[in-house]
Symmetry: D2
Subunit: 371 residues, 4 copies
């Protein structure tokens, strides 16, 4: 007996759009999902672009009008990978249509808009999920389980960072990223380490941040010789106090010349500590008093760390980035079908965005700001 | 205009069967393949098992009879992940039917049978591919390109290993792996490092090996209290001489307690050196005289190393094991549709098997054996 | 013809006292020093203790009175490893006697006292050196040379830390470290990473710090059941702005459960970056655009990095902590004999202390404080 | 009350001579030695050279005649760092004079000569020590203790290597190293990994080796344009069988382009495993079943691993290469004064040399050779 089907509508076909499409294609062969996703509609900037992307990514049809997609009755889940400014209107339309909404981060361009989206979604009772994909790593789940178990005692300190080099070159031109609505490095990648800090250590009570623009002008457009001023940060350092009293620090940096994915943290507790970097995403470093030896133990991902076993029954066979997206989609499908709630939902994404904005305000005011 | 379709028949639905199915599902959304794979028939030990697996992996139908699968006209590619003893009969049938054959390693249980399969395939002119998936890693291609470019000079030495721990426990029972036809550690995982040595450094001229059985009895079956003697090696160390004169060593070890995937090597050349381990499959260590500094440089996988870019346009987002299988399938589809030949084909797999048997003979004779 | 002699007087024979003694014993066999150090007088808490330590460390005589040591005409260099509260009186006496003064960090218990010591030393024109020994590492000198050369472009960011675990256990009792005059973690080890930040990136203009006491009481004394409140920090996180405009962050933490010596930093520049940790003190990670490859290169210490060659003519033979002290002493002897000035001198140590106090003030005021 | 004195005579003042001198100078301030070493006589190739070296290294006098040194009644310990061909005559003279003999490795140029030296020393009952300094590392002692304790079960496999790059350049000229009496890479550095294998796993029963000369000619002398053939190996790979039945492999390679000190090994046991490399000499990797987690734990050197604590009371402060020599000398002084025997003595060094020669014979015969 075959499984029920669930119709997927995808808005956008760039980097993340392709990841979504791949995840929806793969998930049913890897996870015991309650329903079989069907790639029904892909919306893009024009009909031609959409038709082309639909063909390449395996969707039944394309459309240049996302409203057409939202209105399509065969679409059950609306996946939003469109430019950030479009997240709000698309999500509101999808919420109004009662669809499950799966949105890339950031939820919106401001926390205020994100809150509106959150309240609308909560009022309608729909399932929401925001794509903070790095949280899906079995090693991150393991880290949270270790904290919950008390194995490292009470958490005392957090030190996190998300540093990459994609804006290190001063001749990388302006784009949505450097638009004040984009929010700069602290919003673009700072949000990842904020979401991970919240996932592992809990809510952040107050922040004190120092935002800095390294390259004060950039070409107006790709290849343009004319340059325009940059109004967003390239690098932000922040002090953190969590609700629990834990103190810590955080860096967001998109001009970190030697780094391509230093999404990393160390968490100290009274009885142990853990360290992680996305540069070696299949490893978690753990020291706990129960070991009786000095020095971190390098835990390798394996079937002992669900849902790794869905991908491979043997340890030592690494997961990759795209697998994280498959895990995300598996949890989404389960939640859509009445299974356990999956997170981060819109509200959690709003909280991340509030934290980003608190950092920006703190920088402007040059003082601590409560989130 | 949609792409032509290509029918997939898969024999077996275990570890590797699932990997194949996932790869065929995913590939068209990631690579610009010449034809769209359709999952048509899955064969397994019984009709029930096959029907169940077909449903779970997304095949149109299941069958308990692999001959039914091979005979199905809608099947263009026969993918073999059945027990090793079945590789030969299935492959011969598929060759006779003019299908493309995609077979898991080892090609067969003996080099003699593998040679028969190779000669049959070559006589019929069909496309063949054997699943030495670790070769698909962009970092391994990069290593070969670096050697070809002369950047590390003339290769002088090779030191390789494939060590895992899945048979380290003496109570792991007998299975196909410990059957003399299975060939022991040297065949099961030694073949991976042999294939990689050949891929990077070229053919091996002669070997001198020392095979050892660490656990001399194992339970007759899972949970059995009765034990039977083990006739295959748990660990083999070997000296190598390549056709080029390069000397080296190799270890195959399935009882390496601390290791889950130490498929690793160091290659020295007159002007530089490289090191790799599958434990960190997204990294290649390179030192070359052109650097002017001591110490290895850690090259991270990224779009500069095709086909990484098919999975992600940004560096720092790791590939995982299943992605290697997708790359394998993409190359297979291209070759099937008249594109460039893909390897390792049956003949290459036969050469690997000959090398394994030369090691076993060398151990028995206690002397160097020419391959 | 033998070298002139230079008389050494050492106050204190604990951890650092032993290091000093060893360095003075070893240096003349390793470096071409202008004068041969002679271990003349060792002062300690009592005559008995001093006599015992003098015998064990090879000094000609011991004394329970440091003033006796300072007054001894055969003593040319006064090395101070006494408790911090004694640094000022001993130094002032030694300055008055025209001796060269070699003092362990911190220079004194407050910046105000440190300034008095600095001014007295400068007025008298004596040679001073403060034992920030980690700066002596050839890899740290290399890092500074690389920055000066422009190889990593203009420095943009600094992220530093000194984390250890020696106070992680809440039952570690009160001692001079937890005395408010001791200054807590930010003074005890924060001073090391501050001195390194200044050495590599230059003066720090302003700071914003968050100091936290994790264990709010500790036993009054070793083995005591009675506990007293702790008034100093266990962990401090701080934001930094350097005079050059570079922004960064810093952590001092003596309750970092998994760490024994995480004195580490990453420095990003517009054209490259470097990373270092004292946990692997013989390695420097460098990425620079001139490499043409992604990823850090691991530079190993060797004769190319003076004064490594004084210890060993071949690379790959590591320096250890005590060797750093030998280097320090070699530079001190050269400066004492009229050679190039060696740093960090009293003024530099005062600047470090001012920065520590600015952090403490910033925490108290909850705002940025200019140094 | 001061300690008794012990007179040191040192033959040779090169790389190792300087290490010896430094160790004898430092040891009494670090270890509680039974006697105070006094640097009495230094012998070198000529009186002038010796006088100069004596001054620089702190010896009371120099001599161009090592027989003069051996005959000096104030010399209790004769330390031999002269060219290998002189080891035998100097040692025999020192043995005849009843001195303690401390000789650099290799003990002599042939196993036969080494045996004569061993038998002479044993007949006279003197204390001997051969400078396999890497064995002095507290991490190596820890490894042996872990094996003895049974924590990793019964040892099953050994994989070792000593690879450096000092002969990688084909224009490095002939020297004592490439003299057939020098023995090539297998003797020069292979002996280090052989001694470590014996120290950790026990005697080696038989070997099968493959020696290879990469650079078949070298300049006759530094700067010479004329080249002469090379008759020794640059690289040797060998199979090993230990007396205990353990099997393994070993590589000696002085043309390993990227390596400066890859003296490394992995030892697998039935219940755990360990790995070590001299490149990170202050770390030992351990996995044992008692940990309950996958992956190696990185044990850092510290006071828990004697005699680390003699150098520093706190963990995280690394030992360096020269410290290993100090440990060696401390053990020698204790043995000289009637304390516990220290190893490796002449007999052990002879056994190492026998193993080297068995490898060379095995290569020549192309078969297994019993040691």
């Amino acid at each position: 007996m075959s499984k029920p089907e669930i119709g997927i509508g995808l808005v956008g076909s760039g980097f993340m759009g392709r990841c979504h499409a791949n995840a929806f294609r793969s998930v049913a062969g890897l996870f015991d999902v309650p329903a079989e996703p069907r790639l029904r509609v892909l919306a893009d900037a024009s009909d031609e672009q959409a038709a082309q992307a639909a063909l390449s990514l395996g969707f039944a049809r394309g459309t240049g009008d996302w409203q057409d997609l939202v209105a399509d009755e065969s679409v059950d889940i609306v996946a939003i990978t469109a430019p950030n400014v479009l997240h709000a209107p698309i999500a509101h339309a999808a919420i109004a249509a009662g669809k499950t909404v799966y949105c890339e981060k950031p939820l919106s361009t401001t926390a205020a808009l994100a809150l509106e989206m959150t309240e609308a979604a909560e009022a309608s009772g729909i399932v929401t999920l925001v794509g903070f994909n790095f949280l899906r790593n079995p090693m991150i789940k393991l880290a949270r389980d270790i904290i919950s178990s008390g194995e490292i005692g009470e958490v005392t300190g957090f030190r996190g960072r998300h540093a990459e080099n994609y804006m290190a070159d001063p001749d990388v031109p302006h784009s949505f990223r450097t638009d004040p609505q984009g929010g700069g490095a602290v919003a673009d990648i700072g949000s990842h380490i904020i979401s991970m800090a919240r996932y592992l250590v809990g809510p952040i009570a107050r922040v004190q941040a120092d935002c800095r623009t390294i390259h004060r002008t950039r070409p107006k457009a790709p290849g343009a010789s004319e340059r325009a001023p940059v109004e967003v940060d390239d690098m932000t350092h922040a002090l953190l106090r969590f609700n629990s009293g834990v103190s810590g620090s955080l860096e967001a940096n998109w001009a970190a010349t030697a780094r391509t994915m230093d999404l990393s943290w160390e968490i100290s507790g009274t009885k142990g500590a853990m360290a992680f970097t996305q540069e070696r995403m299949n490893e978690l470093q753990l020291w706990s008093g129960t070991q009786g030896r000095s020095g971190y133990t390098r835990i390798e991902s394996g079937p002992a760390h669900p849902p790794y076993g869905q991908f491979c029954p043997a340890p030592g066979h690494h997961l990759g980035f795209n697998d994280l997206k498959v895990i995300e989609v598996a949890e989404l499908l389960a939640a859509h079908s009445g299974g356990p709630a999956c997170g981060p939902d819109f509200r959690e994404a709003y909280e991340v965005q509030r934290t980003v904005e608190a950092m920006q305000a703190s920088h402007a005011e040059r003082e601590w700001v409560c989130v």
